[in-house]
């Protein structure tokens, strides 16, 4: 260190008590207004998803075709009964958007969980064992990366049929190669660093090395990646809906709502606007959060700051 640039102090971070850590996270958030915004929005979105039945004014599936396509309350012909208006089947937009949070978060969370688990395990094995195993695993990963995403998704969707579980599975499978690549890269990087070598020479078992040395170092980059991928999945869901391959039309997912509203974009703009806004805000949230997490967790950035 040549310049006495003040350090954000990660090294001390590890030894501090949780109160201090919390306070520290608070300070970090305070400094990064984007991260702060992302954090607050994230909490709000998660709360919305959890308490959807409590918050939503109506049943999101309750149709009333005689009151279809009502504009938002502040426009002429709207009512506060349905503050954001109604869709083509007369269902309450606000309630559907609120319940849509559940679908999006479920898809994002479990999709990333599956992709992350699959990817991490294969990446770990590939990176750690190396040699032919590495070659074989990365070969498969690369094949999957080289196949056009749409062909893959459409075919899998056609085989499995349309439902929430399948959409999660599809994203879980198609997204796992990215996690595998990142994991493998990190494992290789960590393996080359001195401390794993010294642990090996000190006779530590493979399991110990994995759990004590490699896994803790993987968590940062993987959590960051997961955040971005969750945002991407909310997008993919909308894309799948565009092709009519996402969750069944009856499920109030933002993608479905956007897809239905697309054809009314100029006449009944609210039908497409709200889900669009919901997608944008959620994607924004995860991106802000991801940016911030990357700054805080990525060891490479940490290093370069010194």
């Amino acid at each position: 260190m040549t310049a006495a640039t003040p350090q954000v102090g990660f090294d001390e971070f590890e030894e501090q008590t949780w109160q201090k850590r919390l306070a520290y996270v608070g300070r970090l958030l305070q400094r990064d207004r984007g991260g702060m915004l992302g954090f607050i929005l994230f909490i709000l979105i998660v709360l919305t998803a959890i308490f959807a039945p409590v918050i939503a004014p109506h049943d999101p599936l309750k149709q009333n075709l005689r009151a279809a396509k009502q504009p938002p309350a502040w426009q002429e012909g709207g009512s506060w009964e349905q503050p954001l208006g109604t869709d083509t089947l007369g269902r309450d937009m606000l309630s559907r958007i609120i319940f849509g949070t559940r679908v999006s978060l479920t898809v994002g969370f479990f999709g990333v969980l599956i992709a992350g688990t699959l990817g991490m395990v294969s990446g770990l094995v590939a990176g750690y064992v190396g040699g032919r195993v590495d070659g074989a695993i990365m070969g498969v990963v690369n094949i999957f990366l080289a196949i056009p995403y749409l062909v893959f998704v459409v075919v899998v969707a056609a085989i499995l049929g349309r439902n929430l579980l399948n959409v999660i599975l599809i994203f879980g499978i198609t997204d796992s190669p990215i996690f595998a690549r990142v994991t493998r890269g990190e494992v290789l990087r960590i393996r080359e660093s001195g401390y794993v070598e010294s642990a090996v020479s000190a006779g530590a078992s493979t399991g110990r090395i994995l759990f004590d040395h490699i896994l803790p170092n993987l968590i940062g980059p993987l959590i960051t990646l997961a955040t971005f991928e969750m945002s991407a999945m909310i997008f993919y869901e909308a894309g799948l809906s565009f092709l009519g391959l996402s969750v069944p039309p009856s499920v109030p997912s933002w993608g479905n709502m956007l897809q239905v509203g697309r054809q009314y974009l100029t006449i009944y703009p609210w039908i497409a606007t709200w889900p669009g806004v919901a997608i944008a805000i959620t994607a924004l949230t995860f991106n802000l959060l991801g940016d911030w997490l990357r700054d805080v967790l990525d060891p490479r950035l940490r290093r370069s700051r010194k």
């Binding site: 310049a3 006495a4 954000v8 305070q30």
Partner: protein
């Protein structure tokens, strides 16, 4: 003799998440033409930041030079470097003041040939054409002891060993025949055997070019055979400034005294002396606090009430010898007027 560089009351601060870091708190020193000035201190003492601040090399933000002067005089010209615009100061950097950094591995651009990295500053400051710069560079490479320099012009940094890279760094620093070279711990990252070669190289070039060298180090041990004068820094201030012999024989600041006791000395036979090395008790000062007392007071065995109340200025204690201490070590009591 007029000093080539006069630094007065320089203050530099860093604004970070956790608060304001008071990195430099009123630094004063002079640098004379052709001399070697060693700047000594532990990490965080502000020795590098001082030198970076002079030529606007500290990262901004978070860093900011908030006060003082740095008068740079050569020939008829005299200008306050701190007042120059970035465009003006950058011609001083590289043109008049060259830098050698600690880690030659990360300090060279991995994607450019070493030749072009040297030639770059010649074309920038001396207005050389590409071919002129190239031939000068080859010459310079030879001069800093890189064999087969014609061919090595197109080599990349990763082809070189650490010592060779440091030679390249040195070539970069002196490429435009500057008046001052600031060497920031240039040997710390190198093998012991290479260290001596690098020191010799710098000395040789200094003689050839008559350049003043500021040698930043945390190791008082290497200073003895190298420097004309020494500046000891602590907590962002200069605590003692003296000709090198003076400092070793007659240190006047308790911190310097502590430092000197912590150096393992080799006697003529190469055996380490048997007497035990002393360690300075306590921790370095908290730079988040504004400086209102002697920064060394918490660790100082001689500290008395005044030391806790004000910042001691650099007091003339001998010929060219200053110490920032209210306590007169020689007399064994508070300095006169204290």
């Amino acid at each position: 003799m007029e000093p080539i560089l006069q630094v007065r009351d320089m203050v530099t601060r860093f604004y970070s998440v956790d608060g304001v870091v008071h990195a430099i708190n009123g630094v004063n020193f002079d640098l004379y033409e052709g001399e070697t000035l060693a700047v000594v201190g532990e990490s965080g003492s502000g020795k590098s930041v001082t030198m970076m601040s002079i030529v606007n090399l500290i990262p901004q933000p978070p860093g900011k030079v908030e006060g003082g002067q740095a008068i740079f005089s050569y020939g008829e010209m005299a200008q306050d470097l701190l007042q120059l615009s970035e465009d003006e100061i950058r011609h001083v950097r590289g043109g008049q003041i060259g830098f050698i950094f600690q880690d030659p591995i990360s300090s060279l651009n991995p994607t450019m040939t070493i030749g072009s990295q040297i030639a770059e500053s010649m074309t920038e400051h001396l207005g050389f054409s590409a071919s002129e710069a190239r031939s000068k560079t080859v010459e310079l490479l030879r001069n800093v002891g890189i064999p087969d320099s014609e061919r090595r012009f197109n080599a990349y940094p990763h082809h070189f060993s650490g010592g060779m890279r440091q030679r390249v760094m040195i070539a970069i620093a002196v490429a435009c025949r500057p008046k001052i070279v600031i060497a920031d711990e240039p040997t710390t990252a190198l093998d012991v055997t290479v260290q001596a070669q690098i020191v010799d190289l710098v000395k040789r070039l200094q003689e050839q070019m008559g350049v003043a060298v500021v040698w930043i180090t945390h190791d008082l041990g290497v200073v003895a055979g190298l420097a004309d004068r020494v500046l000891v820094m602590y907590g962002g201030t200069v605590v003692e400034s003296a000709p090198v012999d003076n400092l070793y024989e007659d240190p006047r600041h308790p911190y310097t005294i502590g430092l000197l006791k912590a150096i393992p000395r080799l006697d003529a036979t190469g055996e380490a002396e048997t007497e035990e090395l002393e360690v300075i008790e306590g921790v370095p000062p908290d730079l988040y606090q504004e400086l209102t007392l002697c920064p060394f007071a918490p660790r100082c065995g001689y500290a008395f009430d005044r030391c806790w109340a004000e910042v001691p200025p650099l007091i003339e204690v001998g010929v060219q010898h200053g110490a920032a201490c209210f306590y007169d070590v020689e007399r064994g009591g508070p300095r006169n007027g204290s």
